[in-house]
Amino acid sequence: MSLGSALTVERLHVWRGSAHVLRGVNFAVDTGQLLEVRGANGAGKTTLIRTVCGLVHAEEGRVSWRGREVHADLAAFHAEMAYVGHDGALKADLTGEENLAYAAGLRSVITRREVVAAVERVGAGAYAGRMVRTLSAGQRRRLALATILLSGAVLWLFDEPTTNLDNRGQALVGSLIAEHLASGGMVVAAVHQSLMVARDNVIELDLG
Protein backbone atom coordinates (compact mmCIF):
# COMPACT_ATOMS: atom_id res chain seq x y z
CA MET A 1 0.00 0.00 0.00
CA SER A 2 1.63 3.20 -1.12
CA LEU A 3 1.08 5.83 1.51
CA GLY A 4 0.92 8.61 -1.00
CA SER A 5 -2.49 7.93 -2.48
CA ALA A 6 -4.75 6.35 0.10
CA LEU A 7 -8.13 7.32 1.40
CA THR A 8 -8.48 6.19 4.97
CA VAL A 9 -11.41 6.43 7.33
CA GLU A 10 -10.85 5.71 11.00
CA ARG A 11 -13.37 5.24 13.80
CA LEU A 12 -15.99 7.37 12.12
CA HIS A 13 -19.06 8.22 14.20
CA VAL A 14 -21.84 10.33 12.75
CA TRP A 15 -25.15 11.29 14.28
CA ARG A 16 -28.13 12.51 12.27
CA GLY A 17 -30.36 14.20 14.81
CA SER A 18 -30.43 11.71 17.67
CA ALA A 19 -29.79 8.68 15.46
CA HIS A 20 -26.32 7.18 15.70
CA VAL A 21 -26.04 6.45 12.00
CA LEU A 22 -22.38 5.56 11.56
CA ARG A 23 -20.83 3.62 14.39
CA GLY A 24 -17.09 3.41 14.21
CA VAL A 25 -16.62 2.90 10.47
CA ASN A 26 -13.10 1.99 9.36
CA PHE A 27 -11.71 1.39 5.92
CA ALA A 28 -8.84 2.18 3.60
CA VAL A 29 -8.95 2.47 -0.17
CA ASP A 30 -5.83 2.48 -2.27
CA THR A 31 -5.06 3.18 -5.92
CA GLY A 32 -6.86 0.87 -8.27
CA GLN A 33 -9.42 -0.22 -5.70
CA LEU A 34 -13.16 0.02 -5.60
CA LEU A 35 -14.97 0.16 -2.26
CA GLU A 36 -18.58 -0.97 -2.41
CA VAL A 37 -20.61 0.33 0.50
CA ARG A 38 -23.66 -1.79 1.05
CA GLY A 39 -26.51 -1.67 3.48
CA ALA A 40 -30.25 -1.51 3.79
CA ASN A 41 -32.11 1.76 3.25
CA GLY A 42 -31.35 4.10 6.07
CA ALA A 43 -28.21 2.22 7.09
CA GLY A 44 -26.10 5.28 6.43
CA LYS A 45 -24.65 4.74 2.97
CA THR A 46 -25.43 8.25 1.77
CA THR A 47 -24.27 9.70 5.08
CA LEU A 48 -20.96 7.87 4.79
CA ILE A 49 -20.34 9.08 1.26
CA ARG A 50 -21.23 12.64 2.17
CA THR A 51 -19.06 12.53 5.27
CA VAL A 52 -16.11 11.35 3.21
CA CYS A 53 -16.80 14.24 0.82
CA GLY A 54 -16.56 16.61 3.72
CA LEU A 55 -20.16 17.82 3.48
CA VAL A 56 -21.22 16.21 6.74
CA HIS A 57 -19.32 16.72 9.96
CA ALA A 58 -18.28 13.65 11.91
CA GLU A 59 -18.52 13.83 15.68
CA GLU A 60 -15.64 11.43 16.09
CA GLY A 61 -13.06 9.84 13.88
CA ARG A 62 -11.24 11.14 10.86
CA VAL A 63 -11.17 10.97 7.11
CA SER A 64 -7.69 11.20 5.65
CA TRP A 65 -6.56 11.74 2.10
CA ARG A 66 -2.91 11.13 1.28
CA GLY A 67 -2.17 10.94 4.94
CA ARG A 68 -3.63 14.32 5.79
CA GLU A 69 -6.92 14.97 7.53
CA VAL A 70 -9.41 16.05 4.93
CA HIS A 71 -10.71 19.05 6.84
CA ALA A 72 -7.21 20.46 7.17
CA ASP A 73 -7.30 21.40 3.50
CA LEU A 74 -10.73 20.76 2.11
CA ALA A 75 -10.17 22.63 -1.13
CA ALA A 76 -7.17 20.51 -2.08
CA PHE A 77 -9.11 17.34 -1.34
CA HIS A 78 -12.05 18.51 -3.42
CA ALA A 79 -9.76 19.30 -6.30
CA GLU A 80 -8.83 15.62 -6.49
CA MET A 81 -12.24 14.16 -5.85
CA ALA A 82 -15.52 14.11 -7.76
CA TYR A 83 -18.97 13.14 -6.50
CA VAL A 84 -22.12 12.04 -8.27
CA GLY A 85 -25.06 11.95 -5.90
CA HIS A 86 -28.69 10.99 -6.16
CA ASP A 87 -29.45 14.07 -8.20
CA GLY A 88 -27.45 14.46 -11.32
CA ALA A 89 -26.78 18.17 -10.85
CA LEU A 90 -28.08 18.78 -14.35
CA LYS A 91 -29.99 21.89 -15.27
CA ALA A 92 -33.29 21.13 -16.97
CA ASP A 93 -33.15 24.23 -19.17
CA LEU A 94 -29.75 23.53 -20.66
CA THR A 95 -28.81 20.88 -23.19
CA GLY A 96 -26.79 17.88 -22.13
CA GLU A 97 -23.64 19.26 -23.71
CA GLU A 98 -24.11 22.69 -22.20
CA ASN A 99 -24.56 21.10 -18.80
CA LEU A 100 -21.35 19.16 -19.18
CA ALA A 101 -19.42 22.17 -20.37
CA TYR A 102 -20.51 24.27 -17.41
CA ALA A 103 -20.24 21.55 -14.81
CA ALA A 104 -16.82 20.41 -15.96
CA GLY A 105 -15.76 24.00 -16.52
CA LEU A 106 -16.24 24.58 -12.84
CA ARG A 107 -13.29 22.35 -12.11
CA SER A 108 -11.14 22.20 -15.23
CA VAL A 109 -10.42 23.96 -18.47
CA ILE A 110 -12.23 21.75 -20.96
CA THR A 111 -12.45 21.90 -24.75
CA ARG A 112 -15.57 21.12 -26.71
CA ARG A 113 -13.86 18.12 -28.26
CA GLU A 114 -13.40 16.63 -24.81
CA VAL A 115 -17.06 17.18 -23.97
CA VAL A 116 -18.10 15.45 -27.18
CA ALA A 117 -15.72 12.57 -26.50
CA ALA A 118 -17.10 12.09 -23.01
CA VAL A 119 -20.65 12.15 -24.35
CA GLU A 120 -19.74 9.46 -26.87
CA ARG A 121 -18.10 7.34 -24.23
CA VAL A 122 -21.28 7.17 -22.17
CA GLY A 123 -23.39 6.51 -25.25
CA ALA A 124 -25.39 9.72 -24.98
CA GLY A 125 -24.41 11.07 -28.38
CA ALA A 126 -27.94 10.80 -29.74
CA TYR A 127 -29.54 13.11 -27.23
CA ALA A 128 -26.82 15.25 -25.72
CA GLY A 129 -27.90 18.19 -27.84
CA ARG A 130 -31.43 18.14 -26.45
CA MET A 131 -32.76 19.99 -23.45
CA VAL A 132 -32.34 17.93 -20.33
CA ARG A 133 -35.96 18.45 -19.40
CA THR A 134 -36.91 16.27 -22.38
CA LEU A 135 -34.72 13.38 -21.30
CA SER A 136 -35.57 10.30 -19.29
CA ALA A 137 -34.05 9.55 -15.90
CA GLY A 138 -31.72 6.96 -17.38
CA GLN A 139 -30.49 9.36 -20.04
CA ARG A 140 -29.82 12.01 -17.41
CA ARG A 141 -27.90 9.49 -15.34
CA ARG A 142 -25.62 8.78 -18.29
CA LEU A 143 -24.93 12.47 -18.69
CA ALA A 144 -24.12 12.70 -15.00
CA LEU A 145 -21.58 9.93 -15.51
CA ALA A 146 -20.01 11.92 -18.31
CA THR A 147 -19.51 14.75 -15.84
CA ILE A 148 -17.31 12.66 -13.66
CA LEU A 149 -15.30 11.57 -16.67
CA LEU A 150 -14.44 15.16 -17.38
CA SER A 151 -13.60 16.01 -13.81
CA GLY A 152 -10.04 14.79 -13.90
CA ALA A 153 -10.40 13.55 -10.35
CA VAL A 154 -8.48 10.64 -8.88
CA LEU A 155 -11.14 9.68 -6.36
CA TRP A 156 -14.65 9.05 -7.59
CA LEU A 157 -17.53 8.94 -5.13
CA PHE A 158 -20.90 7.58 -6.18
CA ASP A 159 -24.20 7.36 -4.42
CA GLU A 160 -26.04 4.55 -6.17
CA PRO A 161 -24.62 5.09 -9.65
CA THR A 162 -26.80 2.53 -11.37
CA THR A 163 -30.16 4.05 -10.41
CA ASN A 164 -32.50 4.31 -13.39
CA LEU A 165 -30.07 2.46 -15.65
CA ASP A 166 -30.90 -0.64 -17.64
CA ASN A 167 -28.51 -3.57 -18.06
CA ARG A 168 -26.50 -1.81 -20.75
CA GLY A 169 -26.26 1.23 -18.52
CA GLN A 170 -25.05 -0.85 -15.61
CA ALA A 171 -22.43 -2.44 -17.81
CA LEU A 172 -21.36 1.06 -18.84
CA VAL A 173 -20.88 2.04 -15.21
CA GLY A 174 -18.85 -1.10 -14.68
CA SER A 175 -16.57 -0.40 -17.61
CA LEU A 176 -16.07 3.24 -16.72
CA ILE A 177 -15.07 2.27 -13.23
CA ALA A 178 -12.81 -0.50 -14.46
CA GLU A 179 -11.00 1.87 -16.80
CA HIS A 180 -10.63 4.44 -14.06
CA LEU A 181 -9.19 1.87 -11.66
CA ALA A 182 -6.84 0.61 -14.32
CA SER A 183 -5.41 4.07 -14.85
CA GLY A 184 -4.68 4.58 -11.19
CA GLY A 185 -7.95 5.99 -9.91
CA MET A 186 -10.01 5.00 -6.87
CA VAL A 187 -13.73 4.62 -6.47
CA VAL A 188 -16.05 4.56 -3.47
CA ALA A 189 -19.63 3.72 -4.31
CA ALA A 190 -22.76 3.22 -2.23
CA VAL A 191 -24.66 0.41 -3.92
CA HIS A 192 -27.66 -1.83 -3.51
CA GLN A 193 -26.18 -4.63 -5.57
CA SER A 194 -22.73 -5.43 -6.82
CA LEU A 195 -21.38 -3.39 -9.67
CA MET A 196 -20.39 -5.15 -12.86
CA VAL A 197 -16.68 -5.03 -12.19
CA ALA A 198 -14.05 -7.73 -11.82
CA ARG A 199 -14.06 -8.66 -8.16
CA ASP A 200 -10.35 -8.84 -7.52
CA ASN A 201 -9.98 -5.12 -6.87
CA VAL A 202 -13.16 -4.75 -4.90
CA ILE A 203 -13.45 -4.19 -1.15
CA GLU A 204 -16.86 -4.53 0.43
CA LEU A 205 -18.14 -2.63 3.43
CA ASP A 206 -21.45 -3.61 4.91
CA LEU A 207 -23.22 -1.04 7.06
CA GLY A 208 -26.00 -3.40 8.06
Binding site: T31, D73, A75, L106, R107, V109, R113
Partner: protein, 246 residues
Amino acid sequence: MKPLPLTAEPSGVDGVCLTPRRASSWQAATRVFLRDLKLAFRKRGQLIQPIAFFIIVTAMFPLAFTPELTRLREVAPGVLWVSALLASLLALEFLFRDDREDGTLEQYALSGHSLTGLLFAKTCVHWLLTGLPLALVAPLMGGALGVPIEAMPGILAALLLGTVSLSVIGAIGAALTLGVKRGGVLLSLLTLPLAVPVMIFGARATELAIRGVDAAAPLYLLGAITVLGLTLGPIAAAAAVRISLE
Protein backbone atom coordinates in the same frame (compact mmCIF):
# COMPACT_ATOMS: atom_id res chain seq x y z
CA MET B 1 -0.02 25.03 -5.70
CA LYS B 2 -1.61 21.70 -5.02
CA PRO B 3 -0.18 18.76 -7.02
CA LEU B 4 -2.38 17.54 -9.86
CA PRO B 5 -3.43 13.88 -9.76
CA LEU B 6 -0.48 12.53 -11.67
CA THR B 7 -1.47 8.94 -11.09
CA ALA B 8 -4.24 9.05 -13.66
CA GLU B 9 -3.07 8.58 -17.21
CA PRO B 10 -5.41 9.17 -20.12
CA SER B 11 -7.52 6.05 -20.27
CA GLY B 12 -9.68 4.59 -22.95
CA VAL B 13 -11.75 7.69 -23.51
CA ASP B 14 -10.74 8.83 -26.96
CA GLY B 15 -9.69 12.40 -27.19
CA VAL B 16 -10.26 13.19 -23.54
CA CYS B 17 -7.22 14.07 -21.51
CA LEU B 18 -7.98 12.92 -18.04
CA THR B 19 -5.55 15.30 -16.41
CA PRO B 20 -7.02 18.57 -17.59
CA ARG B 21 -5.78 21.89 -16.36
CA ARG B 22 -7.41 22.89 -13.12
CA ALA B 23 -9.70 25.89 -13.50
CA SER B 24 -8.91 28.88 -11.33
CA SER B 25 -11.46 30.23 -8.86
CA TRP B 26 -12.02 33.17 -11.16
CA GLN B 27 -12.73 30.90 -14.11
CA ALA B 28 -15.08 28.82 -12.00
CA ALA B 29 -16.97 31.89 -10.82
CA THR B 30 -17.24 33.04 -14.41
CA ARG B 31 -18.74 29.68 -15.38
CA VAL B 32 -21.33 30.03 -12.64
CA PHE B 33 -22.08 33.59 -13.71
CA LEU B 34 -22.53 32.68 -17.36
CA ARG B 35 -24.58 29.58 -16.60
CA ASP B 36 -27.00 31.48 -14.40
CA LEU B 37 -27.35 34.19 -17.03
CA LYS B 38 -28.04 31.66 -19.74
CA LEU B 39 -30.57 29.84 -17.58
CA ALA B 40 -32.36 33.07 -16.79
CA PHE B 41 -32.66 33.94 -20.46
CA ARG B 42 -33.98 30.51 -21.30
CA LYS B 43 -36.96 31.40 -19.15
CA ARG B 44 -37.37 34.84 -20.60
CA GLY B 45 -40.96 35.24 -19.48
CA GLN B 46 -39.96 35.22 -15.86
CA LEU B 47 -37.44 38.02 -16.22
CA ILE B 48 -40.11 40.67 -16.36
CA GLN B 49 -41.86 39.60 -13.17
CA PRO B 50 -39.94 41.61 -10.55
CA ILE B 51 -40.32 44.81 -12.56
CA ALA B 52 -43.98 44.15 -13.23
CA PHE B 53 -44.54 43.59 -9.54
CA PHE B 54 -42.71 46.81 -8.70
CA ILE B 55 -44.80 48.80 -11.12
CA ILE B 56 -48.07 47.32 -9.95
CA VAL B 57 -47.34 47.83 -6.27
CA THR B 58 -46.19 51.39 -6.85
CA ALA B 59 -49.39 52.03 -8.79
CA MET B 60 -51.42 50.76 -5.85
CA PHE B 61 -50.43 53.69 -3.72
CA PRO B 62 -52.06 56.50 -5.72
CA LEU B 63 -55.14 54.29 -6.06
CA ALA B 64 -55.22 53.78 -2.32
CA PHE B 65 -54.28 57.31 -1.45
CA THR B 66 -54.88 60.22 -3.81
CA PRO B 67 -54.39 61.15 -7.47
CA GLU B 68 -52.95 64.56 -6.58
CA LEU B 69 -49.34 64.71 -7.73
CA THR B 70 -48.30 67.31 -5.17
CA ARG B 71 -49.34 65.04 -2.33
CA LEU B 72 -47.93 61.96 -4.00
CA ARG B 73 -44.58 63.64 -4.37
CA GLU B 74 -44.31 63.85 -0.60
CA VAL B 75 -44.74 60.13 -0.10
CA ALA B 76 -42.87 59.12 -3.26
CA PRO B 77 -39.59 58.19 -1.49
CA GLY B 78 -41.35 55.81 0.89
CA VAL B 79 -43.54 54.33 -1.81
CA LEU B 80 -40.64 53.69 -4.18
CA TRP B 81 -38.49 52.09 -1.51
CA VAL B 82 -41.15 49.88 -0.01
CA SER B 83 -42.14 48.67 -3.46
CA ALA B 84 -38.51 48.04 -4.41
CA LEU B 85 -38.01 46.16 -1.16
CA LEU B 86 -41.02 43.95 -1.70
CA ALA B 87 -40.12 43.23 -5.32
CA SER B 88 -36.59 42.27 -4.29
CA LEU B 89 -37.87 39.98 -1.56
CA LEU B 90 -40.10 38.19 -4.00
CA ALA B 91 -37.25 37.47 -6.34
CA LEU B 92 -34.87 36.36 -3.59
CA GLU B 93 -36.72 33.17 -2.89
CA PHE B 94 -35.41 31.66 -6.09
CA LEU B 95 -31.79 32.69 -5.71
CA PHE B 96 -30.56 29.33 -4.43
CA ARG B 97 -33.62 27.15 -4.51
CA ASP B 98 -33.27 25.54 -7.90
CA ASP B 99 -29.60 24.83 -7.40
CA ARG B 100 -30.27 23.18 -4.10
CA GLU B 101 -32.99 20.97 -5.51
CA ASP B 102 -31.03 19.57 -8.42
CA GLY B 103 -27.78 19.09 -6.54
CA THR B 104 -25.86 21.93 -8.20
CA LEU B 105 -25.32 23.73 -4.90
CA GLU B 106 -23.69 20.60 -3.55
CA GLN B 107 -21.34 20.51 -6.50
CA TYR B 108 -20.38 24.12 -5.83
CA ALA B 109 -19.46 23.18 -2.28
CA LEU B 110 -17.42 20.26 -3.62
CA SER B 111 -15.72 22.09 -6.45
CA GLY B 112 -12.60 22.93 -4.50
CA HIS B 113 -13.21 26.61 -5.06
CA SER B 114 -14.31 29.18 -2.55
CA LEU B 115 -18.05 28.81 -2.09
CA THR B 116 -18.18 32.48 -1.15
CA GLY B 117 -16.91 33.45 -4.59
CA LEU B 118 -19.32 31.16 -6.44
CA LEU B 119 -22.31 32.41 -4.47
CA PHE B 120 -21.18 35.97 -5.06
CA ALA B 121 -21.26 35.26 -8.78
CA LYS B 122 -24.83 34.00 -8.43
CA THR B 123 -25.82 37.06 -6.44
CA CYS B 124 -24.33 39.28 -9.15
CA VAL B 125 -26.50 37.67 -11.79
CA HIS B 126 -29.48 38.01 -9.51
CA TRP B 127 -28.85 41.71 -9.04
CA LEU B 128 -28.28 42.30 -12.75
CA LEU B 129 -31.63 40.72 -13.50
CA THR B 130 -33.63 42.11 -10.57
CA GLY B 131 -32.01 45.02 -8.76
CA LEU B 132 -30.60 46.80 -11.76
CA PRO B 133 -33.87 46.85 -13.72
CA LEU B 134 -35.67 48.01 -10.59
CA ALA B 135 -33.22 50.86 -10.14
CA LEU B 136 -33.65 51.85 -13.79
CA VAL B 137 -37.44 51.80 -13.67
CA ALA B 138 -37.72 53.57 -10.30
CA PRO B 139 -37.05 57.11 -11.53
CA LEU B 140 -39.76 56.63 -14.13
CA MET B 141 -42.22 55.46 -11.53
CA GLY B 142 -41.12 58.43 -9.47
CA GLY B 143 -42.15 60.59 -12.34
CA ALA B 144 -45.56 58.96 -12.21
CA LEU B 145 -45.69 60.04 -8.58
CA GLY B 146 -45.01 63.64 -9.39
CA VAL B 147 -41.27 63.64 -8.97
CA PRO B 148 -39.42 66.29 -11.04
CA ILE B 149 -36.99 65.16 -13.73
CA GLU B 150 -34.04 66.79 -11.97
CA ALA B 151 -34.51 64.36 -9.11
CA MET B 152 -34.22 61.25 -11.25
CA PRO B 153 -30.42 60.84 -11.27
CA GLY B 154 -30.46 61.02 -7.48
CA ILE B 155 -33.18 58.40 -7.28
CA LEU B 156 -31.26 56.19 -9.67
CA ALA B 157 -28.08 56.47 -7.61
CA ALA B 158 -29.85 55.71 -4.36
CA LEU B 159 -31.65 52.70 -5.77
CA LEU B 160 -28.57 51.32 -7.49
CA LEU B 161 -26.77 51.22 -4.16
CA GLY B 162 -29.84 50.11 -2.27
CA THR B 163 -30.68 47.20 -4.55
CA VAL B 164 -27.09 45.93 -4.32
CA SER B 165 -27.41 45.99 -0.52
CA LEU B 166 -30.76 44.27 -0.67
CA SER B 167 -29.35 41.55 -2.90
CA VAL B 168 -26.46 40.73 -0.59
CA ILE B 169 -28.53 40.94 2.59
CA GLY B 170 -31.29 38.94 0.97
CA ALA B 171 -28.82 36.30 -0.15
CA ILE B 172 -28.07 35.59 3.49
CA GLY B 173 -31.75 35.15 4.25
CA ALA B 174 -32.24 33.00 1.15
CA ALA B 175 -29.35 30.76 2.19
CA LEU B 176 -30.64 30.44 5.75
CA THR B 177 -34.15 29.48 4.72
CA LEU B 178 -33.04 26.82 2.22
CA GLY B 179 -34.02 24.07 4.61
CA VAL B 180 -37.44 25.50 5.37
CA LYS B 181 -40.50 24.39 3.47
CA ARG B 182 -42.37 27.35 1.94
CA GLY B 183 -39.76 29.62 3.43
CA GLY B 184 -40.80 32.70 1.46
CA VAL B 185 -42.51 34.51 4.31
CA LEU B 186 -39.77 33.55 6.74
CA LEU B 187 -37.25 34.94 4.27
CA SER B 188 -39.04 38.29 4.36
CA LEU B 189 -39.28 38.22 8.15
CA LEU B 190 -35.54 37.66 8.41
CA THR B 191 -34.47 40.13 5.74
CA LEU B 192 -36.68 43.12 6.52
CA PRO B 193 -35.20 44.05 9.91
CA LEU B 194 -31.71 43.77 8.46
CA ALA B 195 -32.77 46.00 5.56
CA VAL B 196 -34.00 48.84 7.81
CA PRO B 197 -30.77 50.92 7.58
CA VAL B 198 -30.71 50.55 3.80
CA MET B 199 -34.23 51.80 3.55
CA ILE B 200 -33.76 54.67 5.96
CA PHE B 201 -30.73 56.06 4.17
CA GLY B 202 -32.03 55.27 0.72
CA ALA B 203 -35.42 56.88 1.28
CA ARG B 204 -33.77 59.92 2.80
CA ALA B 205 -31.44 60.27 -0.19
CA THR B 206 -34.44 59.98 -2.50
CA GLU B 207 -36.33 62.60 -0.52
CA LEU B 208 -33.44 65.06 -0.68
CA ALA B 209 -33.09 64.46 -4.40
CA ILE B 210 -36.76 65.24 -4.90
CA ARG B 211 -36.40 68.44 -2.93
CA GLY B 212 -33.46 69.42 -5.08
CA VAL B 213 -31.06 69.40 -2.13
CA ASP B 214 -27.63 67.76 -1.98
CA ALA B 215 -28.13 64.12 -1.05
CA ALA B 216 -24.47 63.29 -0.43
CA ALA B 217 -24.71 62.42 3.28
CA PRO B 218 -27.28 59.63 3.12
CA LEU B 219 -25.76 58.39 -0.13
CA TYR B 220 -22.39 58.00 1.52
CA LEU B 221 -23.97 56.18 4.46
CA LEU B 222 -25.84 53.95 2.05
CA GLY B 223 -22.61 53.34 0.19
CA ALA B 224 -20.86 52.37 3.41
CA ILE B 225 -23.55 49.82 4.23
CA THR B 226 -23.37 48.47 0.69
CA VAL B 227 -19.63 47.96 0.93
CA LEU B 228 -20.02 46.26 4.29
CA GLY B 229 -22.70 44.03 2.85
CA LEU B 230 -20.62 43.16 -0.20
CA THR B 231 -17.65 42.12 1.89
CA LEU B 232 -19.37 40.22 4.68
CA GLY B 233 -22.64 39.14 3.11
CA PRO B 234 -21.38 36.42 0.76
CA ILE B 235 -19.30 34.92 3.58
CA ALA B 236 -22.39 34.59 5.75
CA ALA B 237 -24.39 33.22 2.82
CA ALA B 238 -21.71 30.60 2.12
CA ALA B 239 -21.68 29.55 5.77
CA ALA B 240 -25.47 29.22 5.69
CA VAL B 241 -25.38 27.17 2.48
CA ARG B 242 -22.81 24.78 3.92
CA ILE B 243 -25.00 24.35 6.98
CA SER B 244 -27.99 23.49 4.84
CA LEU B 245 -25.93 20.89 2.96
CA GLU B 246 -24.87 19.03 6.08
